[in-house]
């Protein structure tokens, strides 16, 4: 955010896109006409700004995101046990952009920091350092609090556990109406009720289900309610933190199909977080692989699965059980994720990596990309040096 004219014009831009978002909600998305309509009125200096409904424009830009948690023992314990403070870097220098209308996935094992990223992106957790920009507006920018507030209702989150994320004492209609009332999106109770009914039908439930309580629904239906609540404020960016990992496979298929349909209908942008590689492969257009708080590889979904570069990605893919019984021979996997309080020096993957050498043990590899923005980026010394042995 350098010059004032740009930021004021992007302020206008954000309200324009909000209206477009509503229009897109009514009709199926049409990228061609959408951009054609908005381009003529756009000043030329703003041509590069995220404004039109165009796939290439970034909606979310995350740069250098880091989150450190203080996991020290209480002060008195530290005094007696002569211990210093302990910090856990849950997320370490994570950067990525998400383009409008795409699904960007973060995949990793437990403790990789993917959920912490999700919480920071929706604003549930302040970052220690780094910035999150949505449509060019920094969420931490106090000077632009009005813009940030306007953006808030366009970001929503779907949580992992549909049993814990719905208030058991509220009727479903009240749960779904809460964002509508909070953001003042409908006039009068009748309009709210109608909107809740619409949302329930949208996710495959009956409007009459609104009178029920969450416990009367199965896990899959509850996740549908969570999706309806998330859609209530007409968002265009949804952060989905393991939305199907608490569900059975046949129900998971229903929810994944629903999420894809909604994306096609409303042009939603997803940040999709999962530990399940096959789910990620199915949903995402681009994938970031996380290990101990860092992104070790970012690549388009197809490239990542056909040509994984980072040794950790290779290992993860190899560990996926072979469902179709092709007789694939698994390599023996070494070790487990180390303790994040005391991570290994250099590349954090080096104790488990078959390609480790002295440099890997000392120097943290940055995320490097050889070619254009559409190819992948990988954080590995061995890949950079084109080394295939230690």
């Amino acid at each position: 955010m350098s010059a004032i004219p740009i930021s004021s014009s992007s302020l206008a831009a954000s309200s324009v896109t909000a209206d477009q978002g509503l229009a897109a909600a009514a009709a199926p998305r049409d990228e061609g006409t959408g951009s054609a309509m908005s381009t003529p009125s756009m000043p030329s200096k703003d041509a590069g700004r995220p404004r039109a409904k165009h796939d290439a424009s970034p909606l979310v830009e995350v740069a250098g995101l880091t989150r450190v948690f203080d996991v020290s023992k209480p002060w008195l314990n530290r005094v007696f046990e002569r211990q210093s403070k302990q910090f856990l870097r849950a997320v370490d220098d994570v950067s990525f952009t998400i383009r409008r209308g795409e699904t960007f996935a973060l995949v990793g094992e437990s403790g990789s920091g993917k959920s912490t990223v999700a919480k920071m992106v929706v604003g549930l957790l302040p970052p220690t350092t780094g910035s999150i920009q949505i449509e060019g507006v920094d969420l931490a920018d106090r000077a632009r609090a009005d813009d940030v507030r306007r953006l808030r209702n366009r970001i929503q989150m779907i949580f992992q556990d549909p049993f814990a994320s719905l208030n058991p004492r509220w009727r479903v209609e009240d749960i779904i109406a809460e964002p509508i009332r909070a953001f003042d999106l409908a006039d009068g109770n009748a309009a709210v009720t109608r909107r809740v009914g619409e949302l329930l039908s949208l996710v495959g439930l009956a409007p009459a289900d609104g009178r029920k309580f969450p416990h009367e629904f199965s896990g899959g239906q509850r996740q549908r309610i969570c999706i309806a609540r998330a859609l209530a404020s007409k968002p265009d960016f949804l952060v989905c933190d393991e939305p199907t990992s608490a569900l059975d496979v046949s129900v998971q298929a229903q929810i994944l199909n629903l999420m894809k349909d909604l994306q096609d209908e409303f042009g939603l942008t997803y940040l999709f977080i999962s530990h399940d590689l096959s789910v990620v492969r199915h949903m995402a257009s681009r994938i970031g692989v996380m290990y101990l708080g860092r992104i070790v590889e970012i690549a388009p979904s197809k490239t990542l699965f056909s040509n994984p570069l980072h040794p950790y990605t290779t290992m993860l893919l190899d560990a996926v059980p072979d469902l179709h019984m092709t007789g694939k021979v698994h390599k023996q996997i070494e070790g487990e994720i180390p303790n994040p309080i005391d991570p290994p020096t250099g590349c954090t993957f080096h104790p488990r990596c078959p390609l480790t050498n002295a440099r890997c043990r000392e120097e943290i590899p940055p995320l490097r990309s050889d070619a254009g923005p559409d190819s992948g980026a990988v954080a590995c010394h061995a890949v950079e040096e084109r080394r295939t042995s230690p």
Partner: protein, 330 residues
């Protein structure tokens, strides 16, 4: 191991598990039958509420009251397990049937060192000295791949990571050299890379010992990697049982077909997943006839009226009227 190789190690016939409640009796497992041969790995797969864990619990006699075996028989090597009293069951459990649970943190006692738990189990089932038991415990821990087992044996469960804890649980289950191991979702709480290690370990150790495994899981991928035969359960019944290759590559029961199609593939592109509409019925309102009929796209009259019996096709058994010629063309 029994010299009589013709007789299956485990023979389950018409096993029924019921829960009496105020609103009537719920049948959670409904007359299921299967055999398990020595050294064989049988996968039991199904979604939550299918009754797969209860089947395992019934076999090892760990049903929580008020749940009870309401009918049928469980025979381990000729012994009617379902008719044993508590004392006899205790002697059998651990010794001849080992059990591995889903959550390794709750299946280990947090107040005892790992070594104490292992030696206690070893000494319960065989008359050895404390030192000998400890040596065996260390050997077992080494075998399940715990580095520096001599030192780690005196650690408490919370000092181990999830994968290491599950290794300890496997060591516990195998400590008395059981002939049958019941593993209930052994890898569900673990990360995918650790899961691969645990599956490989379980497979090798049981093969070395010739132990049969009943592997209960919701993950078809784990079954495909591990099992020799697989039983697909739905609403308390076995929908389809047969060799793993047959079931996975050419499933016959519409539920199995749907289940396989709903798993996103890691290779290849598909835009939409095959979805089975609806969800598994609650135990309080299991539909009449085939329990799957309201969700089945191929259901016809008879499916809504009569429960399909198990029909033998090739080496599989399928409970579906589609494969009964007479039912289709009366």
């Amino acid at each position: 191991m029994s010299a009589d190789t013709d007789r299956p190690l485990l023979r389950v016939r018409d096993l029924t598990v019921e829960f009496p409640t105020r609103r009537g009796t719920l049948t959670a497992v409904n007359s299921i039958s299967f055999d398990l041969k020595h050294g064989e790995i049988l996968g039991v797969v199904g979604e939550s509420g299918a009754g797969k864990s209860l089947t395992g619990a019934a076999i090892i006699g760990l049903l929580e009251p008020p749940g009870r075996i309401a009918g049928g028989s469980v025979e381990l090597d000729g012994i009617r397990v379902d008719q044993l009293d508590a004392v006899q069951l205790r002697a059998l459990r651990g010794k001849r049937i080992g059990m591995i649970f889903q959550d390794p943190l709750t299946s280990l006692n947090p107040l005892y060192r790992v070594g104490e738990q292992l030696t206690e189990t070893i000494r319960t089932h065989s008359a050895v000295s404390q030192t000998a038991a400890r040596e065996r415990a260390i050997a077992l821990l080494k075998e399940v791949g715990i580095p520096a087992a001599e030192n780690r044996i005196d650690a408490y469960p919370h000092q181990f990571s999830g994968g290491m804890r599950q290794r300890v649980v496997i060591a516990l289950a195998l400590s008395a050299e059981p002939e049958l191991v019941i593993a209930d979702e052994p890898t569900t709480a673990l990360d995918v890379s650790v899961q691969a290690q645990i599956i490989a370990l379980l497979k090798t150790l049981c093969a070395e010992r010739g132990a049969a495994v009943m592997l209960i899981t919701h993950d078809m991928g784990v079954i495909a990697e591990t099992a020799d035969r697989v039983a697909v359960m739905y609403a308390g019944r076995i929908a389809e049982i047969g060799p793993v290759r047959e079931i996975i590559q050419s499933p016959r029961h519409p539920y199995t077909t749907g289940l396989m199609g709903s798993i996103p593939a890691i290779e290849g592109d598909q835009d939409r997943l095959i979805q089975i509409e609806g969800s598994m019925p609650r135990l309080t309102d299991i539909p009449t006839g085939c329990a799957f009929n309201p969700r089945c796209t191929k259901a016809f009259d008879r499916c809504r009226r009569e429960v399909p019996p198990g029909l033998t096709l090739d080496r599989s058994r399928v409970a579906c009227w589609l494969y009964d010629q007479e039912a289709r063309n009366p």
